[in-house]
């Protein structure tokens, strides 16, 4: 098995891109990543996407996008794992390069959600849950997270306002990210006054519906410096699943898929949570941030919320999270999110995060989640010396 590095990154701003089609967005990100990597050959293109069939009337994104970006003939497929599609595609790119089946792999994530009315988007996202027992009975994704949040509040006696720091931190960090959808501050008062979506999840607990595309270029670490002065090494890549339905979980608040995926990644990288300098977690909802921090070993059960209230999640804190705005404020174009996360870790490790730079960041982790914890892909990245 070969060591694998990221030698190119490219991202579009997250937004409502009514003037750009799905393939144009993906093409913009891919061209930027190829330019950043300065490669002249691509062996494989993997595209992470969840909803192109239902929201854009288009499948077959591998062939569509490889053709559009001038990679005619190249091996190309679409990978789908709900909101974890981006990192799932990255994982396959890692497998292809590590296993010596390809040298130069482009992995893109793309999602275009704002061309459709909100209720269609809600229905499309609900396809990440168990259709027979969750979506069928009216549980949207917000509703599933509301069940988790209510249970957490009940179990540990946590008031809703204690989740505010996760939204505040994300929005504050988005100000320094030119690609963020919501680069503006929110306060604890804003959080407490935000419109209720599915009690207790309110608007500021929730990530937005939006469009975006992001792409990375992978190659063997041993030749990475020929293409990029600052490659970022993939120290670990792992994927795990859990039951698709919440009601089948052995431990509702345990997020077993996340802990399994993270523990495999820690083992592969030979590190512990203490070694991680920043963590781009899957803050689709504030409760998901808290559960992820606990499942990945950054806090004991029931204490994840304190990392927010104590300021540990801020840049400069013990475990900075959502350093470029996270899903909440950078935005969550679902199939692209996993690639945005990895690009943000790469920017930190390349010391190109500007005002949001985590000082002396050497080891960063990204975790992308599909469904309410049913697919979890963890990537640990390291600056190449």
């Amino acid at each position: 098995m070969r060591d694998v590095s990221i030698i190119g990154i490219g991202q579009t701003p997250v937004g409502e891109h009514w003037e750009r089609s799905l393939k144009e967005l993906a093409g913009d990100a891919i061209q930027a990543a190829i330019k950043d990597a300065q490669i002249e050959r691509v062996d494989v293109l993997y595209v992470g996407n969840m909803c192109s069939g239902t929201l854009n009337g288009q499948e077959h994104l591998g062939a569509l996008i490889s053709d559009w970006v001038g990679l005619r003939g190249v091996e190309a497929v679409k990978i789908e794992a709900a909101c974890g599609s981006g990192a799932a595609a990255l994982r396959l790119g890692y497998v292809a390069v590590a296993g010596e089946l390809a040298d130069f792999v482009v992995v893109a994530g793309v999602e275009k959600m704002t061309d459709r009315p909100g209720e269609q988007v809600t229905a499309a996202l609900a396809m990440a849950s168990d259709g027979d027992f969750e979506a069928q009975n009216g549980l949207s994704f917000v509703a599933l997270n509301a069940l988790l949040m209510r249970r957490y509040m009940h179990e540990y006696g946590v008031p809703h306002r204690d989740f505010a720091p996760f939204a505040i931190n994300a929005h504050k960090n988005a100000i320094g990210n030119p690609c963020a959808l919501f680069p503006h501050a929110v306060t604890a008062e804003d959080f407490c006054a935000a419109k209720m979506i599915a009690d207790p999840v309110n608007l500021l607990d929730s990530s937005p519906v939006c469009d975006g595309a992001a792409a990375v270029v992978l190659c063997p670490t041993e030749i990475a410096r020929q293409f990029n002065a600052r490659p970022v090494r993939i120290r670990a890549s792992s994927a795990a699943t859990d039951t698709i339905a919440l009601h089948d979980r052995r431990d509702l608040l345990g997020l077993e898929g996340a802990s399994l995926s993270a523990s495999k990644a820690y083992g592969q990288a030979k590190v512990t949570p203490k070694d991680i300098d920043l963590f781009e977690l899957h803050d689709a909802f504030t409760i998901m941030s808290v559960l992820s921090l606990e499942a990945c070993g950054f806090a004991e059960r029931g204490r994840g919320v304190r990392l927010g209230t104590q300021g540990d999640i801020a840049i400069g804190g013990q475990i900075p999270i959502t350093t470029m705005g996270g899903l909440k404020a950078r935005g969550h174009p679902v199939g692209a999110t996993g690639i945005y996360q990895v690009i943000e870790v790469a920017l930190q490790l390349r010391e190109q995060a500007g005002a949001n730079q985590v000082r002396n960041a050497r080891l960063g982790m990204a975790q992308n989640i599909g469904g309410s914890g049913a697919t979890v892909v963890t990537t640990i990245l390291e600056a190449v010396e």
Copy 2:
């Protein structure tokens, strides 16, 4: 890179499975393949599927199906490459095992199409084409194949009736396949009298809308015999793309994706078309059979149709095709087709094809196509001595 073999196969009958859900069909095939392989551990599950979002209201099939079949926790994702999704998933399974990233990989293909009205299925399948320029202008998949067929007939002066042998051969072979949708003979008269769908493509030129699931288990060849007395080695696995839209092709009848994919496979296996004992090709339409035979080097340009009229495609002929009925008569549950094809080659190489056995079959090829030739995955299989 390790050598990879298929040690387990499982398939449901192709049909209108109104009593079984998508996950139940997939589960039936996976359980059968795991039982055939007699393995006690699965590292990864890849699921090939095209239309679950639009036709079944369900995405996230990796997590859904791994959970359903009792593989909770296992790495699992869905792979989409239109009608080539099944073999595209197989290709990724091959990459994972060959590259030493996994030892035991289950690859399933599943599609459930008959729960929806025909016009919805036609629209869903059209998502394999270029949405902006083909589907948007009313070109269904049958219409795209009609353009190809009309051009072929014009270019080479071939009458429509000359395509009859491809339908007749497929239906004849389906009689010996207990999983086939249409196990009954058709005649040249039936072919010429069949209902017109999109001139010149008639009903007997076309593969049917149906449901089905198929699965295989892969492992390194070096340990394959511990699990199955008759493993089938993957001598070559390759994927290529072409322009998604027909009007962008340099050579409309050339099927460049198929020739590129096949030539890569021949190179990897170090064989020529002459060495192939049977060919499970992608006969979604009779014209696709003819173009595939030419693109893969079994006939010169414009002469593929003669392989039918001369009887070369029959079991016992020079290059037997669709030996268990093909897409035409076994059926074409789109995301599952690529796995059905590989299972049928495996049955031939294991000498378990019953009345349809190709004598002394040692090397078989399967080719699965997405769109009108835009994604092509070729697999060359060999009986392990």
